[in-house]
Amino acid sequence: MSGYALQITAILIVNVVAAYAAYMPLACGQLNLGVAGFMAIGAYTAAVVSSAGWSIFVSIAGGAAAATLAGLLISIPVLRARGIYLTIATLAFSEIITAIILNLPAVGGASGFVVPDHITVAPMLATMAVVAVVAIWLSTTRFGLCMTAVRNDSRGTAVFGVGTRRLEVTALTIGAGFAGVAGALYAHHFNYIEAQHFNVLLSTYAVLFALLGGLQTPLGPPIGAVVFTLLPELLRSTDQWRYVGFGICVILLMLLRPEGLLTRRLIRRTVLRRAYT
């Protein structure tokens, strides 16, 4: 595989995992704009752990664990807020994390951090597969059922005894863990991280991949990530025109197909060839 193709694949893998990170809270109806903050925690933790001599396996696990813990700690107070307040709070949290990192000379501050160990695409794919399997497994259980139910109608679901708050905290925490994995993968493949990379735009893209791919199934986020990572590459024009195209895609999709690319109905009609009545 050419160097360019490997590069794109690596970016794609990180995007898929980041999309899953955004998907978990979104599937419960919570818009988390703080994905980048958790990615930063995962990336920097992994970088520090691996600089201390541990293997990549340990550092990725460490990054995921740190991000998961952060997710748990932040989601309990933040999920008391609802709707828009929640979104803004996650946004604020993410920016505070990056600002703190910027001011920590121990991890390089504004000049960034060089990460020693390199991870090649194959183990990255394996890690991504693990994340995907976990996400898909969860969505086949009652947990997944409840996530969909809460997203559709939170109060109507509470009436059946579903602890909606606990569900949302769990989903956000798991999502944070996925984000930590994404950050750690990024750190080990590109071998250089800086706080400025983990900004609102990054969170926005993670969210958009999940939304544009479709929240109804756990296959939506990777599809969104694949389509919207590869499409700009295929268009091959300058950075700005690519983003213009991306913006137009977002607008059109929200206008014409807000449920995303992949819906359950679509799966039934095409893959399962079930007659739709």
Binding site: A89, A92, G247, I251, M254, L255, P258
Partner: protein, 291 residues
């Protein structure tokens, strides 16, 4: 000197108030965070800058800026899914993100990514009052902001459009049954946001003599913070919150550093949401009973 800082802060706050008000009204009435507002803010600054650079007088430049932002806002409305039920409420927000990405990058393509000097006819004229240096353009901007906010208040409380807006804020479905022309009222809302944001951008250019493609994002953060501080949906709350945020910003710059501003503002925002989400003057108190 403290008094000087406070005065600077207050004058800056006027501009933040316009953005905060645009966000606040959209949340209060349409119940979503409209990320195209920072884009419209930027358009206001950039368009007025371009018109001024061609040699037209300031009034024409500002008028052109307002025309562009108002019509862009209406176009945005046309291309946003009508979502009147509460589920799937992320649609207009995500749509507005799309417009933000689109507009910011179009501006980079046509105007470049560097900050551009704003050829304001007023320059940096200033006057000394009681030992404090007051920039005249900033003072005029502040006054104009107050006028616009007062105008908004009057529109919302005294006019038919305002009644329609308040009615939709309560319940779009019931409003339709009561005979409110929901379509036109919603368009009115987008129009007002466009005018507020566009004016904010033009005034920013006049006051700070510089515009750039990303001027919207910086102000957006502070506008959102001001909105939450004052109370979402509360008109005078937007002004109060904006003034406080601006003063916090100015004090942070002089006593800490300009890099610390974002951390401080974001921390204030997070603390507010966790501890006092209804803000100082009360949430959704747009419906004037509070005033």
């Amino acid at each position: 000197m403290l008094a000087q800082q406070i005065v600077n802060g207050l004058l800056l706050g006027g501009i933040y108030a316009l953005v905060a008000l645009a966000f606040s009204l959209t949340i209060g009435i349409l119940n979503f965070l409209n990320f195209s507002i920072p884009a419209l803010f930027m358009l206001g600054g950039v368009v007025s800058c371009a018109v001024l650079a061609k040699g037209y007088p300031i009034a024409v430049a500002v008028a052109a800026a307002l025309a562009v932002t108002a019509s862009t806002s209406l176009i945005i409305e046309r291309f946003t899914f009508r979502w009147l039920k509460r589920s799937d409420s992320h649609i207009p927000l995500v749509s507005s993100l799309g417009f933000l990405i689109l507009l910011e990058n179009l501006v980079v393509i046509y105007f470049g990514s560097d900050a551009v000097g704003y050829p304001s006819p007023f320059g940096a004229a200033s006057v000394r009052i009681a030992g404090v240096l007051v920039s005249l353009p900033q003072l005029a901007s502040f006054a104009l902001s107050l006028v616009m906010i007062a105008a908004c208040y009057l529109i919302v409380t005294r006019t038919k459009l305002g009644r329609g807006l308040r009615s939709i804020a309560e319940s779009p479905a019931v409003s339709e049954m009561l005979g409110v022309d929901v379509g036109r009222t919603v368009s009115g809302m987008y129009l007002i946001s466009g005018l507020l944001a566009g004016m904010g951008g033009a005034l920013f250019g006049i006051s700070y003599l510089q515009v750039s493609w990303d001027m919207g994002s910086e102000v957006a953060l502070k506008g959102i913070c001001a909105m939450v501080l004052g109370g979402m949906g509360n008109i005078w709350g937007a002004l109060l919150g904006a003034l406080i945020i601006a003063i916090i910003e100015v004090l942070t710059i002089s006593y800490l550093s300009s890099d610390a501003v974002n951390v401080v503002v974001y921390s204030v925002l997070l603390a507010l949401i966790l501890l006092m989400p209804n803000g100082l003057l009360g949430d959704r108190a747009l419906l004037v009973e509070r005033m």
